[in-house]
């Protein structure tokens, strides 16, 4: 018999179940209350794949980082201050090609929604845990190949950590922050650049996402890819459409070398559903603009994406480094990328009161995908090589000069140099153990969704319903298959 109402109402089957549910409900509370169907879509994506769960579970990562009993932030190589520029969430699916003004592609972090300042180990471990997970999820239809990759996990992580250590030492010594413009023999990156260049040359985003009627191009509606009904383009409400020219005018001012104002003449726009994982519930739109000329062949598609606060461990007071969320996104991109305009149309402002990122929607912008790590792209050697490249790239991000012109690279290099082999081994040990825990957490999450429903047990209240205008903007997302 229950002695009190304190805990008997909804007993959790194990303490980690309770922690997991509470962490997600707290982190997503405002979204769950205001746009539950969009959060349900995100949770369904997370339930469907372990790597998607990793992408969408940054608040859990932060919780564990702050948990003294978790080894996630434990290290013999801690450096709490100074804090370098951080990509916020540099797991491998947040790297990809970006097309610069001259048309060349470069490998860069392409999702900087959480970019901020953070301890260097935060970024490195987001990467190495992601590598461990990717290795365990590679070659889903070839158990032997996957087993070979799993056996190589320590080597893969050591390669990332060693490359990081080497690169940060080089940057501390004055090495330039080089742009990665080719795969350099790395199977995954070669494939990425090849596909990126092919589709960029063809302007494939125009053929995939728009229709040309006479001389007028418009964004299509419905599912651009009929085999992927969860990605959908729909009408934007009138108020949102009307606010786009003003947004683009303000956003234009945040660009380093803004094209003429006519470039951003809005030709069409559509509500976009189905992008990202963590950002799945956020408002997204595609905007077709005139581009360099009236000709429909050089029309340009921009993506407008709602932003939120970063999820990082925090630092010394005032604990924030930027004035606004859009300012954080713009400043971080310019600092982290090898050239400040790796995407020349990357800017940010606010739209309908929401902080938003505006960036190029280009088929040349390819992202590393875990589900492509099969066959020749999923060998131990391929993943080790990829780990080496990304480890060095994260070091390059951390070597970016701070606003005062100083660099954190020497401080990091000094800490890491105490024991290079020990540093690499520590990352291998901690990262794979956490990846294993993450897979168990994924199962817990799936169970919680089944048992508690898409609100994870958060009591919803009808008074939290959005206003009609907000409801129109949030729209009706496509159904997402979950388990």
């Amino acid at each position: 018999m229950c002695l009190s109402l304190a805990r008997c109402a909804e007993p959790a089957s194990d303490p980690r179940d309770a922690t997991l549910r509470s962490v997600f409900a707290r982190a997503d509370q405002s979204l769950l209350r205001s746009r539950p169907s969009l959060v349900a879509g995100r949770y369904a994506r997370m339930a469907r794949g372990a790597y998607d769960f990793y992408r969408g579970s940054l608040p859990l990562f932060l919780h564990d980082w702050r948990d003294g009993a978790s080894e996630l932030s434990r290290s013999r190589f801690t450096l709490d201050l100074p804090q370098p520029w951080s990509a916020g969430d540099p797991h491998l699916e947040n790297f990809g090609t970006l097309r610069a003004r001259d048309g060349s592609l470069a490998l860069e972090p392409n999702d900087l929604d959480g970019a901020d300042r953070a301890p260097y180990l935060w970024d490195l471990r987001r990467l190495t845990v992601g590598l461990c997970l990717a290795a365990r999820l590679s070659n889903p239809d070839a158990p032997e190949a996957r087993a070979a990759v799993e056996r190589a996990i320590p080597d893969i992580v050591r390669a990332a950590a060693t490359a990081y250590a080497g690169a940060i030492a080089a940057h501390a010594g004055g090495a330039a922050r080089a742009r990665v413009t080719a795969g350099g023999g790395d199977p995954v990156l070669d494939d990425l650049f090849r596909r990126g260049q092919r589709d960029a040359d063809r302007r494939r985003e125009l053929s995939d996402l728009t229709v040309l009627t006479g001389a007028r191009r418009t964004i299509l509606r419905g599912a651009p890819d009929t085999t992927d009904p969860e990605s959908l383009l729909a009408e934007l409400p009138e108020a949102a459409r009307d606010a786009l020219p003003a947004l683009l005018s303000r956003y234009r001012a945040t660009l380093l070398a803004p094209p003429p104002a006519e470039y951003f003449t809005v030709l069409d726009s559509a509500r976009e559903y189905g992008g990202g994982v963590a950002s799945w519930p956020r408002v997204r739109a595609l905007v077709l603009v005139r581009g360099p000329s009236e000709a429909p062949d050089d029309d340009v598609i921009l993506e407008v994406k709602e932003l939120a606060d970063s999820v990082v461990p925090g630092g010394p007071p005032p604990s924030v480094w930027f004035d606004t969320v859009p300012a954080r996104l713009v400043a971080s991109a310019r600092a982290l990328w090898a050239v400040p305009d790796a995407d020349p149309l990357w800017g940010a402002d606010s739209w309908l009161g929401l902080p938003v990122l505006v960036r190029t929607e280009s088929a040349g912008h390819k992202t590393i995908r875990v589900d492509r790590l099969v066959a020749t792209l999923g060998t131990p050697e391929a993943l080790t090589s990829l780990a080496r490249h990304l480890g060095a790239l994260v070091a390059r991000l951390h070597a970016a000069p701070l606003p005062d012109g100083t660099s954190v690279a020497p401080a990091i290099a000094s800490v890491v140099a105490r024991d290079l082999a020990g540093f690499a081994q520590e990352q291998a040990d901690v990262s794979d153990r956490y990846a294993v825990q993450l897979l168990a957490d994924w199962e817990r999450f799936r169970r919680a969704l089944t048992d508690r429903g898409p609100s994870l047990g958060l009591p919803l209240d009808a008074t939290d319903a959005p206003t009609p205008d907000q409801r129109a903007l949030f729209g009706t997302p496509p159904a997402v298959r979950s388990l």
Binding site: S4, L5, A6, R7, C8, A9, E10, P11, A12, P15, D17, A18, T19, L20, R21, S22, V23, A25, R26, Q29, H63, W65, R66, D67, G68, A69, S73, R74, S75, T78, L79, D80, L81, P82, Q83, P119, L121, A308, D309, V312, P313, G314, G315, P316, P317, P318, S319, V320, F322, T324, V325, R328, P355, A411, V415, R452, L456, G457, L458, P459
Partner: protein, 361 residues
């Protein structure tokens, strides 16, 4: 005296009390609907109040590599505006507090990161008998107010129980307090949502708190108070255990107020398996009239499963009561942390120098 007169005059001017006998007689009652809200429409006296802390703080943060970061800012640690009312055994109190609209580390707030007002207390109460008092609404909880009320230097620093998140000073719920015979103290119980006054309820479980404060009925040792409380609680949608046991030995004298308190927590930060320990020793001394000296040492074991996950805070302050409602304080604190804490919470090791003013009406 002139200040006192001014305060008195101001209080009278602000008090919207009109004696019933002085209410002009209505020659003929006109049928009308009542006001849409009833506050302020009765003839009962209400009492406004105000407490404001203004602060300048300089914080020097020590990095593990030897680097130091610093930051300084003017701040408003507290701005409370209250209305209290009582009539016979019935009373009510409403307290608004100013707070930054974005939580620490966030950029998204209300109109930037404006100071906004939120409800800190809003309760209706009644003395059911001479011995028992009941309150319901957003009520002060039982443990933090007792310890903070002994410390009485909230302007210098909030109680560690609040800072560490192990407890909340107020919550939505109900409390019942009974005075013990011979004036030897009180016992009380409370039932709350359990998420504190700053958060919505996230589960069907409710927190229960029981507390007792005992002191001598008379004599020189009367200020000595033995306090104990237990919170049987839960937090989050996962209904994680969040129990707290607090024991304290307090000295609630006029010129000397001091205490030692120990709080053991079972279930912290939505993790029912995590334990925490908080030990605090403090003293507030008024060696000469108007001179206020504060000393406090706090040991916080964030996680009892980990040796080096702890924070030690030492604090000293000197203050002067310029006038009855106005105090100024200078405070210095030094915080050190275990290696595990530093990795998990960057910036925990720091030294802080603060100048604080407090005004209360």
């Amino acid at each position: 005296m002139s200040i006192r007169r001014t305060v008195l005059a101001l209080s009278l001017a602000l008090t919207p009390a009109v004696a019933v006998a002085q209410t002009p007689a209505t020659p003929e009652a006109i049928p009308t609907a009542g006001p849409s809200t009833s506050a302020g429409t009765t003839s009962f006296a209400v009492r406004p109040g105000l407490e404001v802390f203004g602060q300048y703080a300089l914080r020097l943060v020590d990095g593990s590599s030897g680097d130091t970061a610093w930051f300084h800012a003017f701040d408003l640690p507290r701005a409370h505006a209250s209305l209290g009312a009582s009539y016979g055994p019935v009373q009510g109190r409403f307290v608004l507090e100013a707070v930054r609209s974005a939580s620490e580390g966030a950029l998204l707030g209300v109109a930037g990161d404006s100071l906004v007002l939120r409800v800190r207390e809003a309760w209706a109460g009644a003395a059911i008998t001479r011995w028992i008092e009941l309150r319901a609404g957003v009520v002060p909880t039982l443990t933090i107010p007792e310890i903070e009320g002994t410390w009485r230097l909230r302007a210098v620093a909030p109680t560690p129980l609040e800072v560490t998140g192990l407890g909340a000073p107020a919550d939505l719920g109900v409390t019942v307090r009974a005075r013990l015979p011979a004036d030897v103290g009180w016992v009380a119980v409370g039932a709350y949502n359990g998420e504190g006054y700053t958060n919505r309820e996230l589960n069907r479980g409710k927190n229960f708190e029981a507390a007792v404060a005992l002191h001598f009925p008379r004599g020189a040792m009367r200020p000595l108070t033995l306090f104990a409380s237990y919170v049987l609680g839960s937090s989050g949608t996962g209904l994680a255990r969040a129990d707290r046991l607090t024991g304290a030995l307090l000295w609630q004298g006029d010129r000397v107020r001091a205490g030692v308190s120990v709080t053991r927590g079972w279930g912290v930060d939505d993790d029912g398996t995590r334990g925490a320990l908080l030990v605090e020793g403090f003293a507030r001394i008024e060696p000469v009239t108007r001179l206020l000296v504060g000393l406090r040492a706090t040991w916080w074991q964030r996680d009892d499963r980990v040796d080096d996950d702890h924070v030690l805070t030492l604090l000293g302050s000197v203050g002067w009561r310029l006038f009855e409602p106005l105090e100024v304080h200078v405070a210095v604190s030094r915080q050190t942390a275990g290696a595990r804490t530093l990795a998990a919470l960057p910036g925990t090791e720091n030294t802080e120098l603060r100048a604080v003013t407090r005004v209360v009406f």
